[in-house]
Symmetry: C2
Subunit: 392 residues, 2 copies
Amino acid sequence: MQPSPDELAERLARTRARMTRSGLDGLVVVDPANLHYLTGYDAWSFYMPQLLFVPLEGEPLLIMRAMDAGGAHRTAVATPPERILGYPESLVHQRNVHPFDWAAEQLRAHGFARRGRVGYEGEAHFFSVRSFLALQRGLPEWQLVDGHDLVNWVRLVKSPAELELMRAAGRVASAAMRAGIDAIAEGARLNDIAAAIQFAQATGVEGAEGDYPAIVPMLPTGESADTPHMTFSARRLDAGEAVSIELAGAHRRYHAPLARTLSLGRPDARLARVAAVAAEGLQLVLDGLRPGLTVAEVHGIWQSHIAREGIEKPSRLGYSIGIGYPPDWGERTVSIRGDDQTIVEAGMCLHIIAGMWMDGYGCEISEAVAVAERGVEILTDAPRELIVLEDA
Amino acid sequence: MQPSPDELAERLARTRARMTRSGLDGLVVVDPANLHYLTGYDAWSFYMPQLLFVPLEGEPLLIMRAMDAGGAHRTAVATPPERILGYPESLVHQRNVHPFDWAAEQLRAHGFARRGRVGYEGEAHFFSVRSFLALQRGLPEWQLVDGHDLVNWVRLVKSPAELELMRAAGRVASAAMRAGIDAIAEGARLNDIAAAIQFAQATGVEGAEGDYPAIVPMLPTGESADTPHMTFSARRLDAGEAVSIELAGAHRRYHAPLARTLSLGRPDARLARVAAVAAEGLQLVLDGLRPGLTVAEVHGIWQSHIAREGIEKPSRLGYSIGIGYPPDWGERTVSIRGDDQTIVEAGMCLHIIAGMWMDGYGCEISEAVAVAERGVEILTDAPRELIVLEDA
């Protein structure tokens, strides 16, 4: 189910309003989450150069590999076919020509080679340096300036239709977490636990089918639990070990992440204490979070709690979520930390993650939430505390 | 199991030899597959800026987010701890400072701010424009030049140890394909078929555990089979429809892709003919492929076959494979098409994919192969022809 034409028009209007405030005459969009947000386009084609050009006035232009452009109308449902251009296969992976040389020619042919400030996505994952230099060379009329994740900021407050997708993603996340918890046992291999989680992530639940999450299940384990982003191996779980599960449920590209930590048998005293502090701190944040606060004030609730307990966490407490594509389900906008002065609004969705990566052990407890008019709506459902498998 | 110190030293030496031939005094490596190849480093941390600086002489320097740097020694087994630097969390997702400002300062402090030509990876996925501009600004002594996937080209010919990993990946791919074929039936949902494949991909086979593939299973179906990169939905398979499965088996980051097309019941005559032509053409290529030919000559075998049959395929016939990270399992080096003059050598690994994306239908039949001294070793095992499910 693709966004309705009205919703797409509204998103484009909000993007253009922000472009006007930033003094931009055009915007080059490459982040696949932003392409999906603005057009509905959805395919695993982002490993090849592709872009959406958004002029301040007139129809946007979508440019991608010919192989992908031919079927783009299946998901970019409101984009007229003549505004979807495919570059020829002969431009793929060549040393001396680049698909964006061709894109620059097309943008010129469509009347967009006018003097003006054009924003690009300086930190987007799939905007290569060659892509950037090709536009710079091919469209010297443009003053290219970093648009600083402009569309990502437009995405920050979700519409009612998007909130429904986030709720569905939350149900998928809860089911995937249950599958992961059920697969954990002494002697189980991490890759087999990941297999069970991935099965549940793709299947989904009644009324909410799964989609592929932007990140594979993370299972930081034992001593290497201080290394949060190591991916699964065939290592087996030992008795007495702790393992964290960090995953997301995805539904039609919307993501609800969820993290929990389990102990195989009686937990180490340090871990038990850190987990209790983290769970209490998370509860305090959930109780206090509401529209009107700054993100820094929300972080302050957490920070004063862990300071009282004598615990440090240098990394941020979370980030905004919504549409996700590999390699990240974060929106790259709000970071829950002491220097973020964004004002919390209803409709924002956040992953609040009390991830404590201590020296030689670690613990992660999180919730995915939507900010409501008075407080928060928790999108996921799993026991909040350190999960102890007594018979493990 | 990480690469041995000897193998890592050999890879670094080959990289430096190629740097010398390209007139480079240093190389900035960001492609996660190249980081893994040169250091063993392996984690899902590539969504944040990170780099390996390879000077022509002296120890390389690995720079990543502090949260990830702390545990990097667990996989970057031969890198001395003092050569792994972590940038502070306060630099993450900020508008006015960037982690690579910090990286530039560190490179300077380590004596690398010397005049010279330094290569960068212009088409790598995780080298953002802001990262590039930060290095350009922070190290004005450097003449930054596009290194054109230099390390990717070093990776093209596999070592004996790598070929063992590729064979294991091939066994995982064959098992995942069987799981996919078994899950296909009239009325089955695409996301449930993907779930079965992903379960098999993570579990792996006896003696070869699975790893996460760089791309999710692709299931182009029915009329939308002309759109090769649409990802799975909850759509159900109808009687008489055709569906393709494109997947990879991954083992310790090495990938063997495999594609097949199935028909639920008697296939459409056009599909049956195209599939037969594709399977014959693939067989001719496998029979003819051997060291000493150019890639263009290999493509010529295919091209003259399909031209005789009156069929066109504008896209390339395949590409080199090996280590893969999202969003692509191709190496971005050899492309099997008429203009690639690379000379085939033993130890190269290729995904040869007869992907025929026709108007309104499509068919994909492929093999992952390693080039041997005389001919090819096929890494995967699945029935080669169009698979017809008669009782579907």
